[in-house]
């Protein structure tokens, strides 16, 4: 009996290992225009126990400072344990678990101006309950960015999937912000930040690459 039990355990372990590999391939390599995989796709490929497979993968990724991030449809994060229906409609991504240092962020290829502009645009839209007129966002960004760059930057944030606009020229947060940005943490950090009395090196810094720091 013990032998059989050990054999079954080994077999089960093998099945989970192969499912984890398959899940890793699906999550790391883009399959569609947008990255990430829908729950129902994972269910089809891995079987009904895919939430368990993702849990095991998430634990494994912890040591690599990565995580499996779940983004529920229409930002409706369930209060308790998500239902299978909610999971099947959710999108799963692999994201960085911890934080990047300013020096590391040069790897992402963002200029400090553009990254700061993105942070301001996202924070401003969050403060306006998830939507703001494009004109207002342009005005806020125009305080510190040259006017010719403001429109280009907003279009770029839209193209990357951080923001989206509608025919009424309203800006909203888009899928990439929901996947990558911890909105609550961003607002908390911003409110806790100490306001500087002077503005050192701002003019001198204009347009400087993080890489140059």
């Amino acid at each position: 009996v013990e032998k059989r039990r050990v054999g079954l355990r080994k077999k089960k372990k093998g099945i989970y290992a192969s499912k984890m590999k398959r899940a890793t391939h699906m999550l790391f390599f883009r399959r569609h225009q947008k990255p990430g995989v829908k729950g129902w796709e994972l269910q089809r490929a891995l079987g009904a126990d895919y939430p368990k497979v993702l849990e095991v993968l998430n634990d494994y990724l912890m040591s690599l400072d990565l995580q499996v991030k779940t983004v529920y449809e229409e930002e409706k994060t369930p209060d308790g344990k998500p239902t299978l229906e909610e999971l099947s409609r959710a999108r799963f991504y692999v994201t960085l678990r911890g934080e990047l240092t300013p020096k590391e962020s040069k790897m992402i290829g963002w200029r400090i101006d553009d990254l700061a502009g993105l942070a301001v645009a996202i924070s401003y839209i969050i403060s306006k309950k998830g939507q703001a007129p494009r004109r207002d966002v342009e005005e806020v960004l125009g305080e510190k960015l040259p006017s010719w760059k403001v429109g280009i930057n907003i279009d770029r944030y839209i193209r990357y999937g951080y923001l989206q606009d509608d025919e009424n020229d309203q800006l909203y947060l888009n899928w990439r912000t929901r996947a990558e940005v911890d909105e609550k943490a961003l607002i908390d950090l911003l409110l806790r930040s100490e306001v500087q009395a002077t503005f050192p090196s701002e003019a001198a810094n204009g347009g400087k690459d993080i890489a140059e720091e």
Binding site: F28, F29, P35, W40, E41, L66, K69, E74, Y93, V94, T95, L96, R97, G98, E99, L100, T101, P102, I112, D113, L115, A116, A119, V120, S123, Y124, I126, S127, K129, Q131, P133, V140, E143, K144, Q164, D166, E167, N168, Q170, W175, A179, E180, V181, D182, E183, K184, A185, L186, I187, L189, L190, L191, S193, V195, Q196, F199, S201, E202, N205, I210
Partner: protein, 275 residues
Amino acid sequence: VKSKKAQKKVGAEKLQRIIEMCIAIENHTIDPFLLNVDDVIKVVQKYFPQWDESEELNLDSEAICHLASVIKLQSEWVKYRSTSLYTDPFLLEGKLMQATKDEIVRIFLGAWHPVVEFEQLSLHSIAEALRYWKRLLPIKERWPELFVPEVAIGTTSRDELLRQRVLSAKVFSEEIESFWRELKEKIKEKGAKGKMRYWDFIGTDTYEKTVERAFLASFLITYGYATLEIIPLEEEVFIKPFAKPLAKIRTQQSISIPIAVTCENWQKWKRGELD
């Protein structure tokens, strides 16, 4: 009689303005709290006894309907203010204005967890691509040059263009509207829960007609007359008409749903195998 008419006119104009303001609020271009609901209700109450024609009553009910949407938006705003995500926009704006770029970047990096992706070729994908390349016919064979005979310039008539199906007998918008009515009638007859299988709606005796119906159905969906309901696991697609065409704002990115209306699929549908 004249003064009653004039009063009615003023009342109708006021209702029209209320509706326009409500629509602007629904489109998120105006703060929902700029509308004083009590004042609006007083206006609606004041003029209601004077309405006796169906158009006037319609205007009244339209105003009430839009007002209800505004109240819903106001209640959503109050709910949001009570959540932990709510922060005074002015306070936040002040912080954003006063922080330096470096500081904003430092704060953002504390809350930013970028998506991780691999962009890498595998040996398997290269081998697959090479196999595909070997099988691929030269472009000259795939796209043979069309032989277009030279013809003399001549005149044609509208009837001839209609016969050749270059022109349609109906204006396109009329055609879409009548197709929408047909969908609603078919659902009454054969549908369940206000929807029916996509293929059961577009499918007809001939493949050509089926393609034409699929083409029209795509416009029904794009123009907001109907929507598609997809059950991914069962691979079932349903079409569902709206009671009124939607003129909604795009709060989510529009998506395209490709449905292959191939001759093979049409034959399968005819045989009842396309479930």
